[in-house]
């Protein structure tokens, strides 16, 4: 394993049992990935995918059943590495007797800071999360968004190398989200590594360098947003607006697949999937040959959400299985194997792992 990884998990397994004699349930089923230092890494997945379990395992809050996990080069749960991590849990609850100042003092002390360090940092931090002026108020009066921002401040209190944020924008209004996004970008500029766990895909798309998608305890995809989204799209979707006789339009389209066709007099709006740019050119040529006037032609961009939904669609999972795991996993390899040979070697392991997932 490389010492430069902020988080590295290999074939990580964790199962729970319902009650003493209940059947074990696999929350993590052989998950392998790494988070490089200095990047913003997003972990996506529906509720129950195993995202929080993964974070808790990496932080040593729960024990793994198999595989390996390191945090800042130390085994998961190591106290020294936790000293260098800032964590914002999902559904953060702070005791109501605190003010923003005392909460930062308390969690700062727990993170190993001296009283003077805390005093020196806390006002600046509260300002950076937009809580200046409210620092002496009881947090009983805080909104959920204010609490979330205070949680972020406590995670940053001890200037950690790695930030693990579990649903940081949960409960925030658009302004609040934008605020958090700005903080994250600033931290990235400062060279911090950020591990973001979220189910708000637009959020992840906007800030993350790389993304992993999890479902039912398994890793479905890993790569940059650009790599994951087109790979899931199998081409582009084109929105075509034309005028002309319906018969002529029909003839021009021939046996091409049409997703949607709306007619208003001689004006037609047609939504159709295209394999590639050549197919688009051929379609335009055919329209022109049938003297149909093209008003507009817009290829629709495939979002991370589309890719996400497609990945998690059970019917699509079957397709992926038949089309071969290597194709699904290729962006993962491309991303993971960036520069170094050892990362490439790891990537091979990942491919094997993904193959196992797909076979399963």
């Amino acid at each position: 394993m490389s010492a430069s990884a902020a988080i590295e998990v290999t074939n990580l397994k964790k199962s729970y049992r319902n009650g003493l004699f209940g059947k074990p349930f696999a929350a993590l089923n052989g998950v392998t990935f790494r988070v490089n230092r200095g990047e913003i890494f997003g972990l996506l997945g529906p509720n129950g995918a195993g995202k929080t379990t993964l974070i808790k395992t990496v932080l040593g809050i729960i024990r793994r059943n198999g595989g390996d996990a390191t945090l800042l080069g130390k085994p998961a749960g190591d106290r020294e590495s936790r000293l260098r991590v800032g964590y914002l849990p999902e559904n953060l609850r702070l005791s109501s007797h605190h003010t923003a100042l005392t909460a930062l003092e308390y969690y700062g002390r727990l993170s190993g800071l001296s009283a003077s360090d805390i005093k020196a940092n806390r006002m600046r931090l509260l300002e950076s999360v937009g809580l200046n002026g409210r620092e002496r108020e009881s947090i009983k009066k805080f909104s959920k968004g204010m609490l979330q921002r205070l949680g972020l401040a406590q995670a940053l209190m001890h200037d950690p190398e790695l930030l693990i944020l579990d649903e940081p924008t949960d409960g925030l209004d658009p302004v609040g989200r934008s605020h958090v996004r700005n903080v994250l970008h600033r931290l990235k500029d400062e060279g911090k590594t950020i591990f973001l766990n979220s189910h708000i895909l637009q959020e992840v798309e906007l800030v993350c360098d790389r993304v992993a998608i999890m479902d039912r305890g398994e890793l479905r995809a890993l790569g940059t947003v650009a790599e994951i989204a087109p790979q899931q799209s199998e081409g582009v979707e084109v929105n075509l607006s034309v005028t002309g006789d319906r018969e002529a339009v029909s003839r021009a389209l021939g046996d091409r697949s049409v997703t949607d066709w709306q007619t208003d007099g001689s004006h037609h709006r047609i939504l159709m999937p295209m394999l590639d740019q050549a197919a688009v050119d051929q379609c335009v040529d055919s329209m022109r040959q049938h003297l149909i006037s093209i008003v507009s032609l817009n290829p629709r961009r495939i979002t991370l959400e589309d890719a996400f939904l497609k990945l998690l669609d059970p019917s699509n999972a079957a397709t992926a299985a038949t089309s071969g795991a290597a194709a699904t996993a290729s962006p993962v390899i491309a991303s993971a194997a960036n520069d170094t040979n050892d990362i490439a070697a790891d990537a091979v392991e990942i491919i094997e792992d993904v193959e196992v997932i797909d076979e399963g």
Partner: protein, 774 residues
């Protein structure tokens, strides 16, 4: 470490932010404000309380009987000063004393007259003309205090001194009917108002009284109510920590889980400490400023209370981390509290009311029979075949009073039998047992030929204190009014003589002949009598004076010499005399070893600190003395070598009796019913009388005791507190009698057993939190 201190600090901050804490603090403030005006005033003791007269109706009869007498006497003086109307009421009153149980008059009418008499008597005591020289001429004024007041002259005395003087006159005039009283009483005051009757207390006992009250407050007020409040207040602390949104953040920090838990636990304790310190500190200030008892040891109840709380909180915390619900915490902790309370109470009640009353406290060699008697005065003979102590010589009085004695925690002197004494001359056992209710004592005889079966025909001399064998085998009795020798047949009822079919009044001859010295030694409480087995002299202790008397040639006893002890007149003492040595055990735990002839002090020891000596026995040859202390330790004094040592025998700490056989061997009773016989001076074990355990004893030893040992004993930590205050391992229920049994405090057992239990709970919680996934 600073991380964990931060957790504790956070708990304190949480406490200060809690509304509950402030409510509790306000309530404590109100309580302290309520108690602040409480104080006391020290008055001279003069008022006659109902329990100062042993049998009030009988005393009223005594007064009435003198109504028509022409000779001046104390009773006649009282009668003459009573208002005419009350004299009339008294004349018409038809009662002859509680013991006879013959009440033909309306009981409400009797009650009215009795209470009126009590009031009138107290009014008389305030009169300056109460003392009439002629009336009190024959009264023995033994009390120094009384003599001093008389010598000062009634006219010179203040009003309260007059009342005190009159009270002392009454005590001296009716020593067998009116109890002696300490010179001063404590009158509790609330601001300027007095309430309750004055509590007769020596000034030196005020501290002890305050300590007892403090231990009581500690047990019930703080220990019970305070603990329940503390459980309610702190129950949410641990479950709140397990709120996932809070817990995961805490667990992600670079801290140890079990230390985090312990810090939270300590934080909870700190929460309670604030309230406890405020309350107990406040009470301490009130006791100091209002009662003058500046006893810093009272503040020890803060850590003790905290410790009691920690026991429950350790249980609450373990429940909290398993179920993570404050409601479950409160419910199960209160169930646990009840279980501890019931188990502790059950064991203590069983021990004090039943088990401890079977402890051996005397050994009598009756020829070849070995007879012991226990705290209830039940004599038992050793049955070698069956290996049991077989009850013998039980009088009807003992059978009647048994249910009442079982209810009492400690048996008051008035209920204790005297004897049995083996009368070797007639091969019989003798005893004096109090009637029930205890107004008089019956004299019992048990012949060996009759299997020691007790027969009762006569009453014992008033206030029989002890019986001793004289050199020639006669029996002498030390009683409150003097010394008596048994001369007649005690198994026959005293019938008056008859002549020509007429009963001759006052002709019934008592089998007891007064053999008191010319000026009788009145043994008013606190009193004690012992015989020198070597010289057959008697040592009589009363009112801080030891009097040695010996039998003269005419059979009457003669006062040889007297010795006054240092200290107050009212102090109790226990004495033992043998050969030329007299040992006096004092109520502060000192043992004074004196020359029995010159009273020159040889040594003074305080071997068991403030623990008091209970029995001092001398060996027949006068060389050995066995001193049993209330804390169950036995010391031996060798008069020959003048060495004083803790005896190297089994059962130290649990010894209830030690005495000597006729051949100068040592009997030691321990383990409640076991008796061992040792050779002297080697202390080699010769014989052990260890009875088979009955079902009750087995149930106690193998059921109650193990269960009790497993459970913590938070309800008994008040005993530890009381021990820390007094330094005594026993609690005295009777301040005027050192030989009365005392309640064992056993101060350390609750401490270590509770500490061990708390430790187990905390370790279990630490292991759970370390291994459980959240």
């Amino acid at each position: 470490m600073s991380k964990y201190l931060a957790v504790i600090k956070d708990s304190l901050r949480e406490a200060l932010a809690s509304r509950v804490l402030w409510i509790v603090l306000i309530l404590i403030t109100l309580l302290l404000m309520l108690l602040a005006p409480l104080t006391y005033r020290e008055d001279l003791t003069w008022r006659i309380r109902d329990d100062d007269v042993k049998d009030l109706p009988a005393f009223m009869n005594t007064i009435r009987d003198e109504a028509d007498s022409l000779t001046p006497s104390p009773a006649k003086r009282i009668w003459s000063l009573l208002p005419a109307k009350h004299q009339g009421d008294l004349r018409e009153l038809n009662i002859t004393g509680r013991s006879d149980r013959e009440q033909t008059q309306n009981p409400f009418e009797i009650m009215r007259v009795v209470s009126q008499f009590s009031r009138q008597l107290n009014k008389l005591l305030e009169r300056r003309d109460f003392y009439d020289e002629a009336a009190f001429e024959d009264v023995q004024m033994l009390s120094n205090e009384l003599r001093e007041l008389r010598d000062e002259g009634v006219e010179e005395l203040t009003e309260s001194e007059v009342a005190r003087f009159n009270r002392l006159l009454l005590e001296a005039s009716f020593p067998d009917q009116i109890r002696t009283s300490p010179p001063t009483s404590i009158q509790l005051m609330y601001g300027w108002a007095s309430f309750f009757e004055p509590i007769p207390l020596r000034g030196s006992n005020l501290r002890e009284f305050v300590q007892t009250v403090a231990a009581w407050v500690m047990k019930w007020f703080i220990g019970a109510i305070g603990i329940v409040i503390a459980i309610l207040v702190t129950a949410p602390i641990i479950p709140q920590m397990f709120d996932p949104g809070a817990l995961h953040l805490l667990l992600s920090k670079p801290i140890s889980r079990w230390l985090l838990f312990l810090s939270k636990f300590i934080g909870g304790c700190a929460f309670i400490m604030i309230g406890a310190t405020y309350l107990i500190g406040g009470l301490w200030l009130i006791l100091g400023s209002r009662f003058g008892v500046w006893d810093a040891n009272i503040l020890l109840s803060i850590p003790i209370y905290l410790f009691v709380f920690a026991i429950y909180y350790s249980v609450s915390s373990l429940i909290g981390i398993i179920w993570r619900s404050p409601i479950v915490c409160i419910a199960l902790t209160i169930v646990f509290w009840l279980a501890c309370f019931l188990i502790g109470l059950g064991k203590i009640e069983f021990e004090s009311r039943i088990w401890n009353k079977t402890r051996l406290i005397d050994v009598v060699e009756a020829g070849d029979s070995l007879i012991v008697s226990n705290e209830m005065g039940v004599a038992q003979q050793w049955d070698d075949e069956a290996r049991v102590w077989d009850p013998v010589f039980i009088s009807q009085d003992q059978r009647d009073s048994r249910p009442v004695l079982l209810v009492m925690k400690t048996i008051p002197r008035a209920f204790r039998p005297v004897g049995p004494l083996y009368d070797a001359k007639h091969d019989r056992l003798l005893s004096a047992t109090p009637m029930f209710p205890p107004t008089k004592m019956n004299f019992n005889v048990g012949e060996r030929a009759n299997d020691w079966e007790a027969t009762t025909a006569i009453t014992a001399p008033t206030g029989t204190l002890a019986m001793f064998p004289e050199e020639n085998g006669d029996v002498v009795i030390a009683a409150s009014l003097g010394l008596y020798r048994l001369v007649g047949d005690p198994s026959k009822k005293q019938e008056p003589a008859k002549a020509f079919g007429w009963t001759i009044p006052f002709s019934a001859r008592s089998p007891f002949k007064s053999v008191s010295p010319e000026a009788p030694v009145l043994l008013t409480q606190p009193s004690m009598a012992a015989i020198n087995p070597a010289t057959h002299e008697l040592a009589l202790y009363t009112r801080a004076t030891v009097t040695i008397v010996r039998k003269g040639d005419d059979g009457q006893y003669i006062v040889e010499r007297t010795h006054t002890l240092d200290g107050e007149e009212q102090q109790p003492a226990v004495i033992g005399v043998g050969g030329s040595t007299l040992i006096v055990g004092r109520d502060d735990g000192r043992l004074q070893i004196l020359d029995a002839t010159t009273f020159e002090m040889h040594h003074e020891f305080q071997p068991e600190g403030p623990n008091q000596p209970r029995f001092i026995k001398a060996s027949p040859d006068g060389r050995w003395f066995a001193i049993v202390f209330h804390n169950g330790n036995l010391w031996l004094y060798d008069a020959e070598s003048q060495e004083f040592e803790k005896a190297a025998v089994a059962g130290q700490g649990d010894i209830s009796v030690a005495t000597f056989s006729s051949d100068n061997q040592l009997f030691v009773g321990d383990q409640t019913v076991r008796l061992s016989r040792y050779e002297l001076p080697s202390l080699k074990l010769i014989r052990r009388y260890s009875p088979k355990l009955e079902w009750l004893a087995r149930g106690y030893r193998y059921g109650v005791v193990p269960l009790y040992n497993i459970f913590p004993k938070p309800g008994e930590l008040d005993k530890t507190f009381q021990y820390l205050l007094s330094g005594k391992e026993t609690e005295s229920g009777n301040r005027s009698d050192l030989s009365a049994s005392q309640q064992t405090l056993d101060p350390w057992t609750p401490l270590w057993s509770s500490a061990l239990f708390t430790l187990v709970m905390l370790v279990a919680a630490c292991v759970y939190i370390e291994w459980q996934e959240f």
